[in-house]
Symmetry: C2
Subunit: 247 residues, 2 copies
């Protein structure tokens, strides 16, 4: 898995299809990922048609990767299949609750990430769309997802037509805690974020957004409290509609 | 990543430590995983001390892997570090909401799975503890997790001392949907679950649990509605206490 060292998000793709044999192989291999009780609480909707990509695009704020990639994969937490299996086998399913959503979302994200690791190792490039959880109802309507199915991740996939710079990461010491959680003092924050804040691309990012600090770009522009609160309400309403939270 | 083909959960570990240099390398390499806005919304608490493993064990129903593994890793959704960064940089964070929890949990699970794939490629064996989300408050108390930090995954890690049989998986056709979701008719359920239900180990599983069908083992014994509902309530209460859902 040497590709991990040079991993970057790929947003531009070559005019070359992703062969169905390859896609099937990668999705099948990823099935070896650990899964709760071996129930495999996920489904993947494969979008190849231009029309369906155009239908999905607004839910992803019309980011050009959706229509520009040969393949779009929507990874869904899925307790519908297990529930249908139980119904057909004289068993009474009880998965219309929040724990079951989190269990299925977990299964789905682990599966999704093994798929990403394998796809990148095969030379494919991909972009993970964080927008998936912003407009879930639109995605549900577009893909026809029934109750107990919920989109949690979207990947645009293709052969890379760009090689962007590697993005920075925090030092590992910022992330790990020995035995118990060590809280973040002002001094530790300074140590951990100093390098990130000093990078020319991040300083440029502050300048073009007309902010004082890099953190302000995130809190005031990219991920604001107002948006987060509004989207949280929508997300919970959609979880109720899909049957994962009872009123 | 050839190890994916023979991947199995490892619950018994050799009497051999996991070298800190190796662990550090794997955790660092996994940092290349995609992350929301490059915020890296996760923390990992590393448990090596016998005392702390013993403290964690009850939250994981005293499964022997917790005390039996040289290393236990608790992967936590973490908006605390980003919030502290914002506070130190004259920025107003707004991450005390459910969307932010899901974003951080997603980042954490993707990071966790890349780590698992790398660890297995290095020859390590691991067990993913699904119990993590059952008793989150106990884990929070044991590890001293502050607000906006929430445990979402636990891995017990060590050198394999067993080689269990590969577990079965559903055929890929059970999981993928072309363009839109194809619902599960009785016929499709029969096709997809036939092989799983016919395996001797699964038939034995039905027999020892004194059930009629394999599905009943899951609905009546392993993941019951009663338990799921009770644990959902606890989970939501803990999300409120950690600041990710407002009353």
């Amino acid at each position: 898995m040497n590709t991990i060292h040079t991993r970057r998000t790929i947003r531009r793709y070559a005019e070359r299809d992703v062969d169905n044999t390859l896609l099937t192989r990668l999705l099948t291999e990823a099935e070896r990922t650990q899964t709760m009780g071996n129930l495999q609480l996920y489904s993947v909707v494969i979008t190849r048609s231009a029309e369906m990509k155009a239908n999905l695009a607004p839910a992803h704020f019309n980011q050009p990767m959706v229509c520009g990639a040969p393949v779009v994969l929507t990874f869904c937490a899925d307790f519908r299949r297990t529930t249908r299996w139980a119904e057909e086998r004289n068993a009474t399913p009880g998965y219309d609750n929040f724990l079951s959503f989190l269990n299925a979302a977990t299964d789905t994200l682990l599966y999704c990430q093994t798929f990403c690791n394998l796809a990148e190792e095969a030379g494919l490039g991909l972009c993970y769309l964080g927008t998936t959880v912003y407009m879930t109802q639109q995605i549900i309507d577009t893909l026809g997802l029934p109750k107990l199915v919920f989109p949690v991740a979207t990947i645009t996939l293709g052969w890379p037509a760009e090689e962007p710079a590697l993005s920075d990461r925090l030092p590992l010491t910022a992330i790990i805690h020995e035995e118990t959680y060590q809280d973040y003092t002002a001094e530790r924050i300074n140590n951990f974020y100093q390098e990130k804040e000093s990078l020319p691309e991040n300083q440029e990012f502050v300048r073009i957004n007309k902010k004082e600090t890099l953190a302000q770009v995130f809190t005031d522009c990219r991920y604001t409290k107002k948006d987060n609160v509004a989207m949280s309400e929508r997300l919970i309403a959609t979880l109720k509609r899909q049957g994962f939270i009872q009123e």
